[in-house]
Symmetry: C2
Subunit: 203 residues, 2 copies
């Protein structure tokens, strides 16, 4: 039985998920990040093995067919997948794991029996703010931004089956909510048969 907790985080592009998760990972003891495999090209500043494991389509297909992925998805024409082995080993060691995946992958995990996870959705405060952020980022063409906004509208429809909803209006406030959720989930876990045992109470 797993001793750690799997925290699945999804958000539309531009909701601020990557920034938020980096802040949490920087100073939360006992929490790790599952580095996904992807076939998309690295963005400026992204490092192989840190941000993603960058692999080609042939390698991705081989791994997918070998059932190496806990979940996988195609987003904006690229493949993304999570290594089953890496996640399970970390959870068995007692680490909590943050898993940054899109709504398709999250739904796969949710519907799989035997994978116990907590689902967290980060939403932008509005479509207007999201559009401003995507334009401000300056990394995508107008066409790509339109595609992301269209996807965001679709993804927002899925937010209601997640366990938690964090609206990222002000970054440090959203960060505080994420930290509270992680802390609370650890208190949930403590009373579980497979979590940390109750304190001794014999005399």
């Amino acid at each position: 039985m797993n001793k750690g907790c799997l925290l699945v985080v999804s958000a539309p592009s531009g909701a601020g998920k990557t920034t938020l998760l980096k802040r949490i990972l920087a100073d939360t003891p006992g929490i790790g990040f599952s580095v996904s495999h992807t076939t998309r090209a690295p963005r400026a500043g992204e490092e192989n093995g840190v941000d993603y494991h960058f692999i080609d389509r042939q390698e991705f297909t081989r791994r997918r067919e070998a059932d190496d992925f806990l979940e996988w998805a195609e987003v904006h024409g690229n493949f993304y997948g999570t290594s089953r082995e890496a996640v399970q080993q970390a959870l068995i060691r007692g680490e909590d794991i943050l898993l940054d995946i899109d709504v398709q992958g999250a739904r796969q995990l949710k519907e799989q029996t035997g994978v116990e996870a907590v689902f967290l959705f980060i939403a932008p405060p509005s479509a207007r703010v999201l559009a401003q952020r995507l334009h401000g980022r300056g990394t995508d063409s107008r066409e790509v931004i339109e595609l992301r906004l269209e996807n965001a509208r679709r993804e927002m429809q899925e937010a209601d089956w997640y366990d938690y909803l964090v609206v990222n209006d002000e970054l440090s406030e959203a960060e505080g909510l994420l930290r509270a959720i992680i802390t609370a989930e650890r208190c949930r876990r403590r009373r579980r048969p497979d979590g940390t045992p109750l304190p001794p109470f014999d005399s």
Copy 2:
């Protein structure tokens, strides 16, 4: 449908529950405390209508038979009950409500259909520390302390069906855990059909 969240908190006597709840209530906006009815005598410093509604056995029995209580219990020979009307009105107004009740009352609520609540157990770090605290408090005779310790052993067996377990070893740390749980539960609530709606996302 209720807009607020009902947080049920139980703990063995001496676990620090009253102190913790007072700290939370002092500076958490949007959260109220359900003042219980009891037949026990006021302790030094306790105020009618603030700490408890102090009523006699006859009045308690009359109300219980009129189904005025959401839950009731007999603890250490005294009756305790929670006004159904007061809790429901507060939840409908959108307040979160802290309900300080013992494990018997909490189990009644848990088993009642239609009462949506979050269950939180505060535990002392060990039986030895609990005994020290009860003796240090200086309010109870040795016999009453023995009775409380015996009850604590029984109550600790119930902790595993609560949603959250907070071990109160160091007060300010336990306070932080409680605050995180309340914050996280509000993020859970936000994605519910009967909670705060999702942010507008039409354009």
